[in-house]
Symmetry: C2
Subunit: 369 residues, 2 copies
């Protein structure tokens, strides 16, 4: 079994342990040497170059992804060449383009924030006027971790964003918290859901995740799972699907974003669930039966290492961290620390939430200055 | 942090996931291409060739091992060159030579079977006469998985074994069961013990492990742990130490064998303990604080895949196995199936021992014909 992964970042890297355990050969196409997944890199090349990608795909059983940046033209060239691409281009389209995603989810009747497609400043101002004078403007493509997203109160604030195609504007949702529902779906249709989790963002970037989301037992968990299952089925997603959700102040769940790959809000599962998201993604794209998604302990908490130490490496901090927190699991992405960069995460699990949060935060703090 | 591993077998392979998670660079010296740990192989060469091993060790922070077959002359050449070798030659000696091990443990007053060093058939016959006419004859070096070991009732049966140096003969211990106590020790002295486990052998090869050993709470666990801690300290072991024990019919614990590396009886810990033996071994040889060794669930069971399918690969059986046992963790060593060969293992965990044994055996059975 050979899985080809396009992209050499930390998501590809974290597929390596799962692949080694299962005896799956992993091949990675990376842009440059020394990326996070370098151990499994078999080809350097540009993921927008169809010839390079087709060459990479020769001999693999399935192609999957570390990121969403492979152009549709390249994806369809793969499909036309008979390569199994999972998730496929028709599904990935909705993870690549937020405007198409909104249109599709709305057409399916799934709960989303109020939104509009706007091509001119006056269209944007009209939407803002209808929504309390504020909205969230998004570029349909290219945004991630808070980039390509801004809160606007007048179209003039975002004048520079117009002129390169339609934009998406959404109501500024009044939410209690953000949730994420991850599921995996295999081509033959089986779907497995992890418990819905709560994610806390800092500066638009995921900072902490609690699994399961506190106070989610019952309706919240059921609705979140039902939404993600419907998205996976209706969009024909294969592999891991992450549905980011708002839990509004009036207790509705609205779909915020979609990602069709392992996701930061699923990193807790590497140590906290019987089947982690990287193993499950490999199983799903290979159309193998999915693994059990039950948590190993009542609570798991993940804290991202954002930026990392200002001096030295994460590994320099291991002696102090490991002496202090012998049960926390540390994940380093092999990256050079840089402000704001996701360079690793820590996972902790246990029976008392406050104690688990404390341990995870205490461990992550060793990587800060 | 760079760890060099001499030997490219499954033990080196299973260090890869732990190294990837912790951002540790692993370099493996293997005899030939395509060995189990091939993903991390950085040099092909003979581990008995001091020049090759010295070249391999350049730039690594520490050298450790997949097996015990590196000659003392090569080990001391590494030490003389200033390389950190863990475990060191003075400790490894006792894992390499069963006669020296018996002499050392006896000198320390640790509980061992009756034994003797025999150089002639008449010495062996004298030992047998004193021990009910039966004994276990062992070559001091080179034996593993039942090789270099035989039960003898008369020296004449083993005539061919004499003439190449002293042999070890031991009483045929009347034991209820075999146990294994694994600990890890770092150079600065910290030791962490996993729970003692029960191991079941088939044809001299480990077939199943139950962790913790049933009916071991209290005295058995304490004595086993105390023996292993004493061995680790007195012999100056660094890294993982496995002490194989007999629990005799009269309820004593006797040391059978030692291994100074991750061990088959510790594979359960990869999924069943907070810190698995491969992560712990890396932490120990790097002199990092040791991880928590508590089990994640009350019971874990490991079943070896011995031989594997007579037709096709382990991976061919995944669809049926995974559909039947979604919570069992499968480990494939990337080896070609061959009768008797250790090609993988499965781990299961849970709260009811019988149910866990059933699941693990049911999963492993998918790899048999």
């Amino acid at each position: 079994m050979i899985v080809g992964v396009i992209g050499g970042g930390q998501l590809a890297r974290m597929m390596i342990p799962a692949a080694v355990n299962l005896g799956i050969e992993l091949r990675v196409l990376a842009v440059s040497a020394g990326e996070s997944a370098s151990l499994a890199v078999t080809q350097l090349g540009d993921h927008t170059d169809a010839d390079a990608v087709l060459r990479f795909a020769e001999g693999v059983d399935v192609v999957t992804f570390d990121h969403e940046h492979v152009p549709q033209s390249v994806l369809t060239a793969l499909v036309d060449a008979g390569v199994a691409v999972r998730p496929g281009p028709d599904a990935l389209l909705y993870a690549q383009n937020k405007l198409l995603m909104r249109e599709k989810l709305a057409a399916l009747g799934l709960p989303v924030p109020d939104w509009a497609r706007v091509e001119t400043e006056s269209e944007l101002d009209a939407f803002l006027a209808d929504h309390g004078g504020v909205g969230v403007l998004k570029t349909p493509t290219g945004g991630y971790d808070g980039k390509g997203v801004r809160v606007v109160r007048a179209a003039a604030e975002a004048a520079a964003w117009f002129g390169s195609g339609p934009l998406l504007v959404e109501e500024l949702v009044s939410f209690q918290r953000e949730l994420a529902q991850l599921v995996a779906r295999r081509p033959s249709g089986e779907i497995a859901a992890w418990p819905v989790v709560e994610s806390m963002q800092r500066d638009g970037v995921c900072a902490e995740v609690i699994a399961p989301a506190p106070r989610s037992a019952g309706k919240v968990a059921e609705v979140a799972s039902a939404i993600a299952v419907r998205v996976a089925e209706e969009l024909g997603v294969t592999g891991v699907l992450a549905v980011e959700l708002f839990e509004t102040t009036d207790e509705r769940l609205l779909v915020n974003e979609l990602a069709m790959r392992p996701h930061n809000t699923g990193h807790w599962s590497m140590d906290g669930a019987i089947t982690g998201q990287f193993e499950q993604h490999l199983r799903a794209v290979l159309d193998l039966p999915l693994g059990a998604t039950a948590p190993r302990e009542p609570w798991s908490v993940m804290v991202n290492v954002l930026g990392g130490p200002s001096v030295g490496t994460m590994e320099d901090r291991y002696p102090a961290l490991m002496a202090d927190q012998p049960s926390v699991k540390v994940h380093s992405y092999g990256k050079t620390p840089r402000p704001g960069r996701k360079v690793g995460h820590v996972n902790a699990s246990g029976t008392e939430l406050d104690e688990v949060v404390f341990r995870a935060r205490a461990a992550a703090a060793f990587f800060e200055d």
